[in-house]
C-alpha cells in the first residue's frame, strides 16, 4: 500500500504546534500561542499567515483597551486537515 503524502502545510514544527494548540481550545490570543510554542513573534506571525491563507484558521484583529489583540481560531477546514494529517501520520507509525 502506498503511503499518502503528509500535508506540507501541517508537517512543520511550528505550524503543527499552533494547530494542535488551537484544535483543543475555542480560540486563543497571539500572545498565548507565542508563550506556549516558545516561538519568536516574527516567525509565528509568518506561520499564522500561512495557516490563515490556507483557511485552516481565522485571525481576528481587535483591541483590548488600547492594546492590540490578535485572536486565532481553527476553521472546520482546519479541523478536517488536522484529522486527515493525523490519519496519514498513523499510516507511517503503524508497524
Amino acid at each position: 500500500m502506498a503511503f499518502k503524502a503528509l500535508d506540507p502545510l501541517l508537517h512543520s514544527q511550528l505550524r503543527l504546534a499552533v494547530m494542535s494548540l488551537l484544535i483543543s481550545v475555542e480560540s486563543a490570543d497571539f500572545v498565548y500561542i507565542k508563550e506556549q510554542t516558545g516561538a519568536t513573534a516574527g516567525n509565528l506571525s509568518v506561520q499564522i499567515d500561512k495557516l490563515s491563507n490556507a483557511e485552516y484558521i481565522t485571525v481576528t484583529k481587535g483591541y483590548e483597551g488600547k492594546k492590540p489583540k490578535t485572536t486565532c481560531k481553527v476553521t472546520s477546514k482546519g479541523v478536517d486537515a488536522f484529522e486527515a494529517y493525523v490519519k496519514t501520520l498513523q499510516q507511517y507509525i503503524k508497524p
Binding site: Q13, L16, E64, L89
Partner: protein, 193 residues
C-alpha cells in the same frame, strides 16, 4: 521553536504535548461561588429571622441582593472573557450551564406565588445540578459532595413549611457553595493563580 521538518514520531509527540498544554490550565471560579454563597446565606437567614421573629411585612427583602449579584456576575464574566488569552470549551460550557440554571431558578422564583412560595426545594435541586456538573468538569470533588448535600436538603425541604426551608437553603449554600469556594480559592493560591 524552529520551523523544521519532523519525523512522524516527532509530529505525534508534538501534537500530544500541545494538546496537553491547552488542557492543563486551572481555572479559579471561586469568586462566583463565594459571591452567591454569601448572598444566599444572608438573604435566606434574614428571611427566616424576619419571618419568624418580627411582624415585618416583607421578610423576603434580602433577596433583592440577588439583583446586585446578577449584575456583578455579568460584569465580571464579560470582563474575564475580554481579558482571557485563551478561550476553552470547558469555560464556555461552564458559563452556559450557570446561565441556564440562573434562568431556571429565576423562572421558579418569579412564579413562586403559584406554588405557595415553595420554591426552595426546586432551587436546591438546580443548585445541585450546577455544582455536580461543575465539579465533574473541573475534576473538583468538594463541589460534587456539595451537590449531594443540595439534593438531600431538597428532599427534606419538600416536606417542610416555606419559612423553615430558608434554613435548609442557607445550610445548602454553606456546604455546596461557600465551603468548595474557599477550598478552590486556597487551591488557586497554591497553584499561583
Amino acid at each position: 521553536m524552529e520551523d523544521k521538518e519532523l519525523t512522524p514520531e516527532e509530529s505525534l509527540s508534538l501534537i500530544n504535548n500541545m494538546i496537553g498544554r491547552a488542557r492543563k490550565r486551572y481555572t479559579d471560579n471561586s469568586f462566583y461561588f463565594l459571591l452567591w454563597g454569601w448572598i444566599v446565606t444572608v438573604a435566606s437567614l434574614a428571611h427566616y429571622i424576619l419571618g419568624m421573629y418580627t411582624s415585618f411585612e416583607h421578610p423576603y427583602i434580602g433577596w433583592t441582593l440577588t439583583i446586585a449579584g446578577a449584575v456583578i456576575s455579568a460584569i465580571r464574566g464579560s470582563k474575564q472573557r475580554d481579558k482571557a488569552v485563551v478561550h476553552n470549551y470547558t469555560d464556555k460550557m461552564y458559563g452556559w450551564l450557570w446561565m441556564c440554571l440562573g434562568i431556571a431558578m429565576f423562572t421558579i422564583i418569579f412564579n413562586g406565588q403559584l406554588i405557595n412560595w415553595n420554591t426552595v426545594p426546586f432551587v436546591l435541586l438546580f443548585a445541585g445540578v450546577g455544582t455536580a456538573v461543575s465539579g465533574a468538569m473541573m475534576g473538583f470533588k468538594p463541589l460534587q459532595f456539595g451537590a449531594i448535600a443540595f439534593w438531600v436538603l431538597a428532599i427534606v425541604a419538600f416536606r417542610l413549611p416555606e419559612i423553615y426551608q430558608m434554613l435548609l437553603m442557607a445550610l445548602g449554600v454553606i456546604v455546596g457553595y461557600l465551603l468548595p469556594g474557599y477550598i478552590m480559592k486556597a487551591n488557586a493560591k497554591k497553584h499561583g493563580i
